[in-house]
């Protein structure tokens, strides 16, 4: 949070900063500097790794930790079963990785680490990150669809029972709605994460400015804003879970199109 001329810049939190002097790192001319965003992706990976490793104990009677990991796994498994059916099992590693990575990245980005002087960074608030995840899901859908059904996969754009004269109209509409999927998938997560963080930042700016401006504004603006912030924080935790769920759910729905054409 940068306080310039007494004002809080609510989008400064999304600034990417290069860490450890790795500016010059590049592959084939492309810069791959290790940034704060990369660091939080690494932290997300490590936390998820520790979480799952702690629960992969293979005990018949699970402990609490194992129960938590199996609960998360079972949740994603049920999601796949419900949307795709028996064939959904083979997508479990991918969808679980997706769900786990997004969920943990969202949650870690909300940690109140500023209290100890560290600034958490939400990797999923960048469309460069969510976009890659969305394109990855979309590419898998395309790959599975064409591998399983060949060119017959194009019949996805002609829903069942479409009258023949309607096909020339329906086909482009369905095609466009299909091509928009990766954008909607990636942008939804990015926007939800960014909006929540900006809102929290703006409200905290009110609290700071209101408190500095005097007793009147403290009670009029700062205190209500602070109360609202507490509520929004809870809401953001919910959004963090829901957005991870939505991403995984939509991936399942799209995979179902590819797996069970119509």
């Amino acid at each position: 949070m940068r306080v310039a001329e007494g004002k809080v810049d609510p989008v400064h939190q999304f600034t990417i900063e290069t860490l450890f002097g790795t500016d010059h790192w590049s592959i084939g001319g492309y810069n791959i500097a290790f940034t704060n965003s990369s660091l939080w992706m690494a932290i997300t990976t490590v936390v998820l790794l520790v979480f799952v490793a702690g629960g992969a104990k293979r005990e018949l009677v699970p402990g609490r930790w194992q129960m938590a990991v199996e609960g998360l796994t079972g949740f994603v498994d049920n999601l796949l079963q419900a949307n795709i059916g028996k064939a959904g099992r083979k997508y479990l590693p991918y969808v679980f990785s997706l769900f786990g990575f997004i969920l943990f990245a969202n949650m870690l980005g909300l940690l109140p680490l500023a209290l100890v002087g560290v600034h958490p960074f939400t990797a999923t608030s960048h469309f460069t990150v969510t976009g890659v995840l969305a394109v990855m899901s979309f590419a898998i859908v395309l790959g599975v669809g064409f591998a399983k059904h060949g060119l017959h996969f194009f019949s996805l754009f002609v829903p069942h029972g479409t009258p023949v004269p309607m096909i020339p109209i329906i086909f482009p509409i369905e095609l466009i709605s299909f091509m928009v999927r990766p954008f909607s998938l990636g942008l939804r997560l990015f926007v939800a994460m960014m909006a929540g963080h900006v809102l929290l930042e703006v409200l905290s700016g009110f609290v700071i400015s209101g408190t500095n401006a005097g007793v009147g504004t403290f009670f009029l603006a700062a205190v209500p804003s602070f109360v609202l912030m507490i509520g929004i924080c809870a809401l953001e935790l919910l959004v963090a879970g829901i957005q991870a769920y939505v991403f995984a759910l939509l991936t399942c729905v799209y995979l179902n199109d590819a797996e069970n054409l119509h």
Binding site: T15, I27, S37, T128
Partner: protein, 164 residues
Amino acid sequence: MPQIEQLATTYSSQVFWLLVFFGIVFFVIGRGMLPKVVSTMDGRDKQIADDLAAAEAARAAADAEEEAWRVQANQQRAAAQAVIAAAKADAAKATEASLAVAAARIDETVTAAEARIAAARAAALGEVEGVAAEAAQDIASRIAGLSIPADEARAAVKGVLANG
């Protein structure tokens, strides 16, 4: 908005590191650890299903056993009732027979005793007659000085006793 302002300078780094870390998540967690977790869950589900099936089978067996036991118990109870009834009938018959024997013996004894009593009574009566005749003879001789023959005295006593 830094996402757009820094797009040109950071996109390659963002994409690269996301692929690196998501790759680690996918291959280490998704491919490496998850199958173990899933197999553990499936194994547990299967074991629970098997245990439930075994319990169900055991319950059915127990029910069948109980039914068989009940049938057997009923049969044995019926048999026991039959034995008791037969024993009762036998006992009643035996009691009847021994009662009949006892009654016959008692009748015999009573008859004999009655005969003995009658004989004793007759003898006693005869003796009373004799004593009375002698007494009458004696009284007559002492008072009237008459000597009455024994036969006459006896006949007179007999007449008096019969009339008295």
